[in-house]
Symmetry: C2
Subunit: 450 residues, 2 copies
C-alpha cells in the first residue's frame, strides 16, 4: 500500500519537474495493470501527459486495464492518431468491452478509427447477447490446417502470432472453418518438423457455443484447467476463443452477484463506490419492501396470541432469540446448498439426500441449543414450564429452519429460478412466522394459557 503511494509521489514529482526521460524510464518498467492503477489515483489532467510517454504497446495494454470512466475520458481527449494507435494494438474483445460502456458518439469515433477488418469484427461481437460466450470471446485466435506440417505451423505462428491473444493453443479447422482439432505449441515443439498437424492434433476438442451462458463457460475452465476454450457457431464453425483471464473475471463477477442476491439485493454492474447512491437505494428497496410487508404476517400471528402474552408477558422476551436462531439455522443451510448448487457439487437429484442430511444436522444442533437455553432460563427465572416451552420450540424451529433452508433453494433450481434468491432474508422471514406460531402453540399447551 505504502509502496504504491511512494511511486505515485515520485512520478508526480518527475512530471512537475518536467523530467520526462526519467519518468518514461520509471513507468516503462511497470506492469500495465499497475500503471492503470496508478493513473486512476492521480488528478485527471495529469493522466494524458503521463500516458503519452508510454511505449506504444505498453500504452495499449495499460489502456485495456483501465476502468470504463478513464477509458472514456481518454478517448474524448485523444487525437485521432493516438486513438488509432491504441486501437491497433488492442485485442478486439477488450475494445468491445470498452465500447459496451460508452455513449453512442464515442462508439462512432472508436469505430471510425478502427481499420475496416477490425470494425467488422467489433460489430459482429457487439451482436452477441450480454451474458453469452460470444460476448466474452475474442476473434484473435491461432488456427492451422490439418495438412500443414509442424514446420509450416511454426512459420504461420511467426507470421501472424504477434496479433493473437493466445498462440499456445492452435485450433485446426477445415476450409469451411469447421473445428476439427487442436494442437498445442508444446506438441509442435516436441515433435519432428515434418509431422503432419492432422496426425498430431487432439481430435476430441471440448468447445462451447456462442450463445452458451458465460457462467457455464467459466465453469468449464474451472473443471478442465484450460487456458483457452474454442467457441463455435450453430454450424460448428470456429468463431472465437475465450481466454482464462476473462473466465476468472466472469467467475468473480458471478460470485459477487451471488453475494448480493443472497443479501436481498439486485446485483449491481459496478463497484461499490462507482454505483451511485440512488442506484444503491434502488437495488435494495424492492426486496426490503417485499420482506417488510411479508413480516407483517409474523406480526399478525403474534396479535392472534395477545391473550397468551397478556397473562405471561415474559413470553415476549424470547421472540427475538427464537427468530434469530431460526433465521441463522436457515441461512446456514441455505448458504451451503446455494453454494453447492452453484459449484455443481449438489444437483436437484440430491434433494432427499440433502434433506436427510440436514435433518440429522438439525437433531445434533437442537440437542445442544435446547438444553443450554433451557438451563439458562431455569437458572434465571426458576420456571420449569418456561424452560420446557423454549426448549421444545427451539427443537422445532431448528428443524424447520434447516429443512426449509435446504429445500427452498433446491426447489427454486428445479423451477429454473435462481437458488440464490432463496437465501437468508427470505428464509428468515418464512422461518419467523413458523417460529412464532409454534412458540405460542407450545406455550398455550404446556402453560395451560388462553
Amino acid at each position: 500500500m505504502n509502496e504504491s503511494e511512494n511511486i505515485k509521489e515520485e512520478i508526480l514529482e518527475m512530471l512537475a519537474d518536467r523530467r520526462y526521460a526519467d519518468l518514461k524510464r520509471r513507468i516503462d518498467s511497470m506492469n500495465p495493470a499497475d500503471i492503470a492503477g496508478l493513473l486512476a489515483e492521480i488528478p485527471e489532467e495529469k493522466v494524458l501527459p503521463i500516458f503519452r510517454l508510454l511505449a506504444k504497446e505498453l500504452a495499449a495494454e495499460t489502456f485495456s486495464e483501465m476502468d470504463a470512466d478513464m477509458q472514456e475520458m481518454l478517448v474524448r481527449t485523444f487525437t485521432d492518431k493516438e486513438l488509432k494507435e491504441v486501437l491497433e494494438e488492442m485485442y478486439v474483445d477488450d475494445t468491445v468491452d470498452m465500447i459496451e460502456e460508452m455513449p453512442a458518439n464515442l462508439i462512432n469515433r472508436v469505430l471510425k478509427q478502427s481499420d475496416p477488418a477490425t470494425r467488422k469484427e467489433i460489430n459482429e461481437l457487439l451482436k452477441y447477447p450480454e451474458d453469452s460466450a460470444g460476448s466474452i470471446m475474442t476473434t484473435e485466435y491461432m488456427y492451422l490446417k490439418e495438412d500443414m506440417i509442424v514446420k509450416d505451423a511454426f512459420a504461420r505462428i511467426r507470421e501472424v502470432g504477434e496479433d493473437k491473444e493466445d498462440i499456445y493453443t492452435c485450433y485446426v479447422i477445415t476450409e469451411t472453418r469447421k473445428l476439427i482439432g487442436l494442437v498445442t505449441v508444446r506438441d509442435l515443439l516436441l515433435n519432428s518438423t515434418h509431422t503432419r498437424v492432422g496426425d498430431l492434433m487432439e481430435k476430441n476438442v471440448i468447445y462451447v457455443n456462442t450463445l452458451d451462458d458465460k457462467e457455464y463457460v467459466a465453469k468449464m475452465f474451472d473443471k478442465y484447467n484450460f487456458r483457452t476454450l474454442p467457441v463455435v457457431d450453430t454450424e460448428s464453425r470456429l468463431v472465437g476463443i475465450v481466454t482464462v483471464d476473462d473466465a476468472i473475471d466472469v467467475l468473480q463477477d458471478e460470485n459477487t452477484e451471488d453475494f448480493e442476491k443472497m443479501a436481498a439485493m439486485t446485483p449491481s454492474e459496478d463497484t461499490y463506490f462507482k454505483t451511485s447512491v440512488f442506484d444503491h437505494a434502488k437495488n435494495r428497496i424492492i426486496w426490503l419492501l417485499v420482506l417488510m410487508l411479508s413480516s407483517t404476517v409474523t406480526g399478525m400471528i403474534i396479535t392472534h396470541y395477545e391473550n397468551a402474552f397478556a397473562s405471561v408477558p415474559l413470553l415476549v422476551a424470547f421472540i427475538p432469540m427464537l427468530m434469530d436462531t431460526g433465521g441463522n439455522c436457515g441461512s446456514q443451510a441455505s448458504t451451503l446448498i446455494i453454494r453447492g448448487l452453484a459449484l455443481d457439487e449438489i444437483t436437484t437429484k440430491d434433494f432427499l439426500k440433502a434433506v436427510w442430511k440436514e435433518s440429522r444436522v438439525a437433531v445434533l444442533v437442537a440437542c445442544v441449543l435446547a438444553p443450554v437455553n433451557a438451563l439458562r432460563i431455569y437458572v434465571q427465572y426458576k420456571n420449569v414450564g418456561l424452560s420446557i416451552v423454549i426448549a421444545a420450540t427451539l427443537v422445532c424451529v431448528v428443524f424447520i429452519a434447516k429443512i426449509l433452508g435446504c429445500a427452498l433453494p433446491m426447489l427454486a433450481k428445479k423451477l429454473k429460478l435462481d437458488p440464490a434468491l432463496m437465501a437468508s432474508p427470505l428464509i428468515t422471514t418464512i422461518v419467523d412466522a413458523c417460529s412464532v406460531l409454534i412458540y405460542f402453540n407450545i406455550a398455550l399447551r404446556v402453560m395451560n394459557l388462553g
Copy 2:
C-alpha cells in the same frame, strides 16, 4: 446430464460384455476430468478394471483429477508397478495435494514408489505452511540462462519440456538460481534464433514469496492476467511456479469460505456431501450458541418495557417487522462492504467515504419504507400515533443498520480480523437490540405510556 448417464451405461455394458478394445477406444477419447467424473459414479469394484485400460499418460491425468477418496482407494489397490507408473507421469504439486489427504501408511507407500529426486521435492513441498504460496506451487517449471541464445532455449525446451507443468513462460535464473527475468515461448518464436535470452527477457518480473498467503497469490492472477507466477524464497531464488488453474481453485475455495463465514459457520474443508453430519453440526453450533445467547440482550430490553406493551399489546406485533428490516438493511450494507474489501475495491482508508455513502442510501431507503409502512398501519388500525411511532422507528433502524453494516466489517479489517465475521448474523443481533430499544423509547414518548 443425460449424456453423461448414457456414457456411463454404455461403458458399464462394454465392461460387462468384456468388449475391452471398444471400451478402451471409448474412454481414450475422453477428457481426464470427464473420465474421473465418470469413475466417481460407478461401483467401486469396477473402477480399477476400467482405469487399467487407460493409456499411461491419460491414466495419470485422470488420477490427478480424482477426489481424495478415490485416489486413496486406488493407491491401496494398485500394484507397486502401477503406482510407480502413475506417479512418474504426475506433476509433483498434484502428488503433494494427494498425499496431504492420506493416512501415513499410504504416504509411505507413495514416497517409496517415487524416484529419489521426486521424493526429495515432495518432502520439500510438504514443509510449506498450509495456506502458503509454497503449498500450491509446483517445482516443475522451465528455466533458462541469460547467455543462452533462442536456438539453445528451444533445444532445452525440447529436451526437458515434456515433464514441465508449463513451458510457455520460461524463467531466467543465474548460477545461484536467482530469478532475473522471464521470456515467453511467444518471444522466442517471434525473434531470430541467435538472439540472446538476456536481451529478450522481461526484467521486471512480478513474483511472490513461498510464505505469501495463497489468497494473495490468487488475486495476483486476477489482477495481472498471468498464466503462471514465479515463487521465490527469502534469498530471491526461484523455487517454483503457481499455475492459473490452481489459482482458480484457490479463488473458488476462498469465495466458498466467505459464503460460509458470512452465514455464521466455520468453513468446511470438504464439499457438502463429503462433510459428515457431525462436522456440519460442529461447524455451525458455536456461532449459533454465541448468537443465541447474545440475542437474550434484546429479550431483556423487551422485558424492561413490559409496562408499555402491557398497556398497548399491539406494540409487540411490530417487533418482528422492525427486527427483520433492520437485519436486512444491515446485511445488505455489510455484504457489499465485505465483498468490496475482499476484492480490494474498498480499503480501510475509505471508511468515512463509505459511511457517508451508506448514510445517504439509508435516507433514501427510509424515505420509501417509513411512509409505506405508516400508511399500511393507518389503513389497518386507524391509529395515527402508532403510524408515527413505527415510521420514526423505521427511519432510525434503517440508519443504524446501514451504518453498523458498513462500519463493523471495516473496523474488523483495521483490527486485522476477518471482515466476513461481521456479516448479517452478528450485525442482525446487534441491530435487533438497538431496534427494540429505539422502538420502545419512541413509543413511550409519542404514545405517552409508562
